[in-house]
Amino acid sequence: GGPVDVGDRRLGITIDESDPKRFVLYVDNEEIPLIQEFLYYKSMVGDNSVDYKRASGAYIFRPDGEPLPLCDNQIKPRRVSGPVVQEIHRECNEWVSQVIRKYNGDDNIEFEWLVGPIPNDDKIGKEVISRFRIPFYKNNQTFYTDSNGREMLKRILNYRPSFSLKENVENVSGNYYPITSRISLTDQQTRFSILNDRSQGGSSLQDGEIELMVHRRIFYDDAFGVNEALNETAFGVGLVARGSHYLTLGSVDKQFVVERLLSQRKLIQPQYFFAEKQSVVSYEELK
């Protein structure tokens, strides 16, 4: 019952027109609320003379305050549907947009993000994250991140296995980890994972929440040797980055297979070779 924008009630998603960061996920006919939004951390500025004056930079992620929302939602989402793929095209603002898609028969929902050029007029460094949240999901401040695409390492918020962590003054970056291909939460019945198509920093700072950093543009060096701000440009403006996150959600016993096969497929993709035909031939002739 009821239309599903992308996919179907076995695995699909519908966007809330009135608040485009809100979605309803359909998994095996269950309806699960999902919030997906783009935010940015302001980069800490400092002269690096003493520790508490360190600037965020290439070798340091040091946010200044809570992440700020990015989407002004001026433009309504656009839906595309057909026999191979269904998509929702969403423009957050001038320099952040996203396509949410599901291919027929596939076991994941793809969030293809496009970020940049990050504006530099206010000279405030911006470190952009994509944050997914399933309200009321209980994962006991525990999440799992892969280690170079292999074993999954257990992470607990504000905790270190090898020493007792004093109060974590850097309570955001102190909980960030390298996500080379996957970050997962589990409430013991289901497993909620986001797979990425390249290494990114990420964490789960609240129960039910996963965030991954997709792009950074910073205007101060962090005095760790590179002696240059992390401020890559192309064609005279800030660099544009494009990539995908793949959302999977399902029963714990089933999801490992789904994630393992998906990450291989996305990280070791087929190679494309093109051969132009000078004159149009029929299939039989070509055969």
Partner: protein, 184 residues
């Protein structure tokens, strides 16, 4: 062998954490991009000559790659009346790939797989934000999407992709002829 070793050596350099994360100086990052691009080009020549010995329709001379598919730009798919797309699957198990090729909108294409079946295709408009990417030099405003099923392990499949005459336009095209298995 020497054409492949260049990429091996370059990937050796790319193991540095700066290369992976992009935290090196800008001119070093640009040099990494140059090294990778040259090495991939060398490797492509080797791949093409091997493939042309194996696959139908791949002449070494005409063999091309599209490295800018990540910004939905591809000279071949945007301007050719007809071309063969060969997909090589590097995994040791069959894989299904959803192919997306940038095309000039309002143009219909047919896709025929190696068994002669015409595949179900879909034409998807590109988001406006993609059309605005600085440096993107492409006339494509849509993508041709189809499912390449069961690419053989460590093997390839070739697809014959033909632009329909201009009398077609996407809207009038009947839902593409469904290949037998997709009906079942």
């Amino acid at each position: 062998e020497p054409k492949i070793t260049v990429l091996r050596e370059t990937m050796g350099v790319m193991q540095h954490h700066d290369a992976i994360t992009g935290t090196e100086k800008q001119h070093v990052a640009n040099d990494y991009a140059r090294l990778l691009n040259e090495a991939i080009e060398e490797c492509k020549e080797a791949s093409c000559s091997i493939l042309s010995g194996l696959a139908t329709g791949i002449e070494t001379t005409g063999c091309k790659t599209c490295h800018l598919l990540n910004i939905s730009q591809c000279e071949v798919s945007e301007h050719s009346e007809q071309f063969v797309l060969t997909l090589y699957n590097p995994l040791s198990r069959p894989v299904t790939e959803f192919v997306r090729l940038p095309i000039a909108a309002e143009t219909a294409y047919t896709v025929v797989d190696p068994s002669g079946q015409s595949l179900t295709v879909q034409f998807v408009p590109l988001p406006n934000a993609v059309l605005r990417i600085p440096g993107r030099k492409s006339s494509a405003t849509a993508e041709l999407v189809f499912q390449a099923k069961d690419l053989p392990p460590l093997g390839y499949k070739s697809y014959l992709i033909t632009k329909q005459s201009s009398s077609y336009d996407i809207k009038s095209l009947p839902r593409a002829k469904r290949s037998a298995e997709s009906e079942t």
